[in-house]
């Protein structure tokens, strides 16, 4: 490009303003010459500064594989270096421009363990370059890349057959690879498919037509990227605005802010607010200090409406005569992105456009082998695996099928405990309630309820003398568990004797019945998924054994609060020991009624030796370790 002078800057700026942006992803591995190709694109488009080029020249001499020539791969090899060091393997974004277009390139590693990274890069790309080593032809990796990018909704593919120099620039090799690819790609919905023979290392067919391959009459890579028509071609361009923010600077202004996901809008247009369904018309389209006469897909604007309708973040304002669907059950495709597997029945936060709700995968219909496309049975979904599943949301969601609109059909799942983004999904279609109630598919039990609470239900049974510190420790433990986001309940004499067991006294039979009921209530609560803390003197081994047998192995944790009698009597918080010593209180444990210490308690603590915090932490450590 010629040197630019200040006097023709106006002309230049006008040129820049006319440029569109094309976002694409490169799929391939280093072995296919991916870094070399990207480096070559940056170099040929003159997007390498002189100081970078100088560094590149010296790096090439030192580390390069191309002798005295420049090794373009070194420009972009950051990612591969990371792989060797075992740290972040990620999506790197690179930028370059030609006279026609601006480009944003998502560069991701191509191996199977980086499927999620490729999906991330593909989610915002309009076009994919599938890189193939001419010597190797179509590999399982090529099929995987094809499957990921088409699943993510990319409809323009460049089949870049690289390293043609190493097969003697043979047309037959290229033609065979293209034919092979067209066979297995025939079912994909593609708008354009362009195969180009390249030798990226020498620049053949990158910017300039290759002299070594006169048999190829198609466009060079740059010619194709600069001219391919990627404009959105939906049959119906109906207005959709996901509302991100409600702007209320004063009582007279209510603006609804968002980025138009599809279609156009003009003042006066009839619109509908979803999910409520209320209709009104557009008063104005506000943007900064001006009012627009029209706004189109991709614009971030503020709408004001002619009627006072209720609109909140997460709602959609849409063309009144062409509203999208609203549903709460869907068939979806999910790509799992977390180490911890996805389990049906567990609930996650779901973010779809500006709406955040909770969602549960009810059933995995099948898993898809990412290399072959084969349908496989699956109970859980592991990292980098893809499945077709049914999903139920806690509230109705306004959506479009992903193939119709990527913005309104794509969603992410967020773990409710770690807050990590764990899954990416695409809505295929809504399941109608009448025909598709899959609730029966999921047996609701203790496991499912507990999973919703992200915890292991347990009964922690504190036993010990009156005044030993059972309730103090149990209270402290409950607060700590609560702070950690656990769902708990505490059963003790105070809340049980006053209600459920109001009819019971202190005779031996009543005391047995008292503990039997407490055990049964604790069991119901554990079944509901709770962590139940029981704090009762419960002096008799047989009663505690009866309670223990109500639970599954490992669920019942007996904590013996073994504070010496002398210490309990010294504390005598409620004055009960004094009363018993005076003979005013009969059958008092430790005085005239025995306490049978546990033979094999899960934990023994002593509040005369450790303070209550330390004791509570011992219990916490025990249950966390299980």
């Amino acid at each position: 490009m010629d040197q630019l002078h200040a006097k023709n800057i106006v002309e230049y700026l006008e040129e820049q303003r006319q440029k569109e942006t094309l976002r694409f992803i490169t799929c391939g591995s280093v072995d296919d010459g991916k870094s070399t190709l990207i480096g070559r694109l940056l170099y040929e488009s003159k997007c390498i500064f002189d100081d970078q080029l100088k560094a590149l020249e010296s790096d090439s001499k030192r580390y390069g594989t191309q002798g005295e020539k420049i090794d373009f791969a070194l420009l972009v090899d950051g990612l591969e270096a990371e792989r060797e060091q075992g740290i972040t393997i990620d999506v790197a974004y690179r930028f370059f421009a030609t006279d026609r277009r601006r480009y944003i390139v998502a560069d991701t590693p191509g191996h199977e363990q980086y499927t999620r990274n490729m999906a991330t890069g593909a989610s915002t790309a309009q076009l994919a370059i599938l890189l193939i080593d001419a010597r190797k032809g179509i590999l399982p990796q090529t099929r995987r890349h094809h499957r990921i990018v088409t699943m993510m909704g990319i409809r323009h593919i460049v089949l870049a057959v690289n390293k043609m120099d190493l097969v003697g620039y043979d047309a037959a090799v290229f033609n065979r690879i293209e034919a092979d690819y067209r066979v297995f790609a025939k079912d994909a919905t593609l708008d354009t498919l362009q195969a180009i023979p390249l030798a990226a290392i020498h620049g053949d067919n990158v910017l300039k037509t290759s002299e070594a391959m006169p048999w190829y009459t198609g466009p060079t890579l740059f010619e194709h990227l600069d001219t391919v028509d990627v404009s959105h071609t939906a049959a119906r361009e109906a207005f959709r605005l996901p509302v991100q923010w409600v702007n209320r600077p004063n009582l007279n202004y209510r603006g609804f802010c968002g980025r138009i996901a599809e279609g156009k809008v003009r003042p006066g247009d009839a619109v509908r607010v979803l999910p409520s369904g209320r209709t009104t018309t557009v008063r104005s389209i506000d943007f900064w200090e001006e009012q627009l006469s029209e706004a189109e897909a991709g614009a971030s604007i503020t709408l004001t409406l002619n009627d006072e309708v209720d609109v909140s973040r997460g709602d959609l304002i849409v063309a009144a005569d062409a509203p999208p669907e609203v549903a709460d059950q869907f068939q979806v495709r999910i790509l799992w992105m977390a180490e911890e597997p996805m389990v049906p029945g567990r609930s996650y936060w779901m973010k779809v456009h500006a709406k955040e709700i909770t969602a549960t995968v009810m059933e995995i219909k099948h898993r898809e082998d990412v290399n072959t496309g084969a349908h496989l049975a699956a109970k859980v979904l592991n990292l980098n695996e893809i499945a077709v599943a049914t999903l139920v949301t806690s509230q109705p969601v306004v959506f479009e099928p992903y193939t119709t609109n990527r913005i309104l059909g794509g969603f992410i799942l967020i773990d409710r405990l770690t807050f990590a983004t764990v899954g990416a999904g695409m809505v295929d279609f809504a399941l109608r309630r009448a025909s598709n109630i899959h609730w029966q598919a999921l047996e609701l039990g203790k496991l499912q309820r507990a999973m919703l609470k992200h915890q292991t239900p347990r009964c922690i049974w504190f036993t010990g003398l009156s005044g030993s510190g059972k309730s103090t420790v149990a209270n402290m433990l409950e607060k700590r568990l609560h702070a950690d986001g656990r769902h708990t309940y505490m059963l003790d004499g105070d809340n049980v004797r006053h209600g459920l067991n109001r009819d019971l006294g202190f005779s031996e039979a009543d005391r047995v019945e008292n503990l039997r009921r407490v055990g049964e209530v604790a069991k119901l609560m554990v079944d509901a998924g709770l962590i139940v803390l029981v704090s009762f003197i419960s002096p008799f081994r047989a009663d505690r054994q009866t309670a223990r047998e109500l639970f599954e192995p490992g669920e019942f944790i007996e904590v013996h609060v073994d504070t010496p009698l002398a210490e309990c009597e010294r504390r005598d918080v409620k004055g009960l020991y004094a009363k018993a010593r005076r003979g005013e209180l009969k059958n008092f444990t430790g005085i005239d009624s025995p306490y049978e210490p546990p033979v094999a308690a899960e934990l023994v603590i002593d509040t005369s030796k450790d303070n209550p915090e330390a004791c509570a932490l011992q219990v916490l450590k025990l249950i966390e370790g299980r």
Binding site: T120, P249, G258, W288, S300
Partner: protein, 297 residues
């Protein structure tokens, strides 16, 4: 939509989304050209309301005088609240780039000071003007960059970003740095400033200024706090700045460009990438990556 409308619409969408998910957002304001673009975008995102967050300037006290003047002007014009913070410890010890070196100065007066300010106010969403084209380690930076307690950037715990769906959830002590102009290039910034007629610090335009040559770079003598080395005599040269930081750490380039048009022309024809003028990027190998892990923007 053309290229600039797309970049602008994307940035506004990001800013609105971050604010919608935030408990207490703030925008870093460094007075430079990227900050000027950010401030402009924020005002556009929420107009006619002012942006629902304050600006935060981590002041090393070593900014150019012209920058302080510009800061005052923009605060006045935007009607936004400005918070400033200087590391009190650093101030007490008189930490400065001359006697302590750029590394230590940056650590104490920028990185540590930033952490102090964020902790003091408890911000959970912090807007920054970083761009992916600036430096190698930024190319893979998220738009929503997650920071664990202590503001650490852990490359392993970054959240995948698909489509325009950003996970804005944080616990107390955790925060997110949000970079709305991630996908802008230096040229985009200049062109946007030009098209939108956004005011910038005059130091970006060439003028005769007193400079000395150190390590092959022109360093401007902004005030009498700068100690001159033996034999160094400031000379008046036509210089301007492509990037503005602390004045002894930011080198000027010789240039005749006195108008926005000339700057864009010069930038477009430029022969060295932008951060070459920033001394802190090259004072140790992999230094940007390191500073980021410690909490630098």
């Amino acid at each position: 939509m053309n290229h600039y409308q797309q970049l602008e619409a994307e940035a506004i969408e990001i800013i609105r989304e971050a604010v919608a998910g935030a408990r207490k957002p703030v925008m870093m304001y460094s007075i430079g050209k990227d900050s000027s673009v950010m401030l402009h975008l924020a005002r556009k995102a929420f107009y006619p309301a002012p942006p629902p967050f304050p600006l935060l300037h981590v002041d090393t006290t070593w900014k150019f005088q012209a920058m302080y003047a510009h800061r005052a002007r923009m605060v006045e014009e935007s009607g936004m609240e400005l918070l400033t913070h200087t590391n009190p410890e650093g101030l007490k010890q008189n930490v400065n780039p001359f006697t302590h070196g750029s590394n230590y100065h940056t650590d104490v007066m920028k990185t540590q000071a930033l952490r102090q300010a964020l902790d003091m106010h408890g911000f959970d969403v912090v807007f920054g003007g970083a761009r992916r084209d600036e430096e190698k380690s930024r190319a893979k930076e998220r738009v929503f960059s997650f920071r664990s307690a202590g503001h650490r950037w852990d490359p392993k715990s970054q959240r995948p970003e698909l489509w325009n769906l950003y996970n804005t959830r944080t616990r107390p002590d955790e925060s997110i740095r949000v970079f709305p102009i991630s996908n802008w290039t230096e040229l985009d910034i200049w062109q946007y400033l030009h098209v939108e007629k956004i005011p910038i610090v005059p130091l970006y335009f060439a003028a005769k200024r007193p400079v000395v040559k150190r390590g092959g770079m022109w360093i401007m003598v902004d005030d009498d706090r700068m100690p001159l080395e033996p034999g160094e005599i400031p000379e008046m040269r036509m210089v301007r700045f492509r990037t503005l930081g602390c004045y002894p750490l930011t080198a000027a380039i010789e240039s005749p460009a006195t108008t926005m048009e000339e700057i864009i022309a010069e930038t477009f024809n430029t022969v060295s990438s932008e951060r070459e003028g920033r001394l802190i990027d090259s004072d140790q190998p992999g230094s940007m990556e390191k500073k980021k892990q410690e909490g630098y923007f």
